[in-house]
Amino acid sequence: MAHQAHAYHMVDPSPWPLTGAVAALLMTSGLAIWMHFHTMTLMSLGLILLLLTMYQWWRDIIREGTFQGHHTPPVQKGLRYGMILFITSEVFFFLGFFWAFYHSSLAPTPELGGCWPPTGITTLNPFEVPLLNTAVLLASGVTVTWAHHSIMEGQRKQAIQSLTLTILLGFYFTALQAMEYYEAPFTIADGVYGSTFFVATGFHGLHVIIGSTFLAVCLLRQAQYHFTSDHHFGFEAAAWYWHFVDVVWLFLYISIYWWGS
C-alpha cells in the first residue's frame, strides 16, 4: 500500500457533494413549486436527500478521523479554521437581522405611530420567560465547559452527565420559546415589529435546535469512546457553536426583548 510522505489528508472521491447540491436544487425549486401550486413533494424530497447527505458525509468524516487517523495536527488546524470561518459567516447572517431591527426601531415611521414599540403592539415582559431563557442558556454554557474539562481530564462519566445536562437545557429553552411563540399577543404579520421579532428569534431558535443536535451527536460519540483527552475536536466545534448561539441570544435579549419593549 502506498504511504503518503506528508501529514495532510487526501480525501477519497465522494458522492456527497453532488447529492448535497441536488438536495439544494430540489429544496429551492420545491419551495417555488410549493408557493405556486401548493404541493410539497419536491421540497420534501429535497429535505430527505439533505438529511441523507448530512448523515453519510459526517459519518465518513468520523471514519476518516477517529478510525483511520487522518486528522493529524495540521489537518485539525484546518478543521479549526473552517469552523471559525463558518461561525463568522453565521455572525454576519444574524448581523443583517439586527441591522433590520435597528433600522426600523431607531427611527419609527408615522405609520407605526412614530414610536417603538409601535402603537397597538403588546410586547412580552422581558423579566418573565425571556429572562428564564437567558438563565437557561447561560447555565448551558457553564455545563458545556464542565463537559469539556471532564473530557480533557479523562472523566468519562462526568463528561456524559454534563453533556447530557447541556442538551437538556437546550431542549428546555426550545420548549419555553415554543410556548412563548404560541402565547404571544402579536404575530409575524404584525408589521415590522412582528417581522423583526419572529425572523430574528426564529432563526436563533433554529440554531439552538441545530446546536442541540450537534451536541447530541457528540454525546453518542463520547459514549462510544471516540474522544480522547487530547483529541476531541468534534466536541470543541460543537461547544464553540453552542457559545455562539448563547451570545446571539444575549444580543437578542438586550436589543429586542429589553431595549425594544
Binding site: M1, P15, V22, L25, L26, S29, F37, Q56, R63, Q224
Partner: protein, 82 residues
C-alpha cells in the same frame, strides 16, 4: 459497627452494577476494519449497509433531478382553465 458498614457497602455495589449495562469500546475493531487495505472508498468501507444507503441516496438524486426538470417545465407553460 463494622458489619453494618460492610452490608451497606455490598448493597451499594450490587445496585451500581445492575443499574446499567456498560457500553463496550468498539473503536479498536472499527479502526482495524477501516484501515484494511481493500481499496474500498470511505463511503462504502463499512459494508453492505453502506452500499444500500448509497444506492438509495443516488436513486433519490437521479429521480429528484428528473422530477425537478419536469415540474419546472410544467410550471413554465401555464395550464389554460376552460
Amino acid at each position: 459497627g463494622r458489619r453494618h458498614t460492610a452490608v451497606q457497602q455490598m448493597a451499594r455495589r450490587s445496585i451500581c452494577s445492575s443499574a446499567r449495562r456498560q457500553v463496550e469500546n468498539k473503536v479498536p475493531q472499527k479502526q482495524k476494519m477501516f484501515q484494511e487495505d481493500n481499496g474500498m472508498p470511505i463511503h462504502l468501507k463499512g459494508g453492505s449497509s453502506d452500499a444500500l444507503l448509497y444506492r438509495a441516496t443516488m436513486v433519490l438524486t437521479v429521480l429528484g433531478v428528473g422530477f425537478t426538470l419536469y415540474e419546472l417545465v410544467k410550471a413554465s407553460f401555464p395550464q389554460k382553465k376552460d
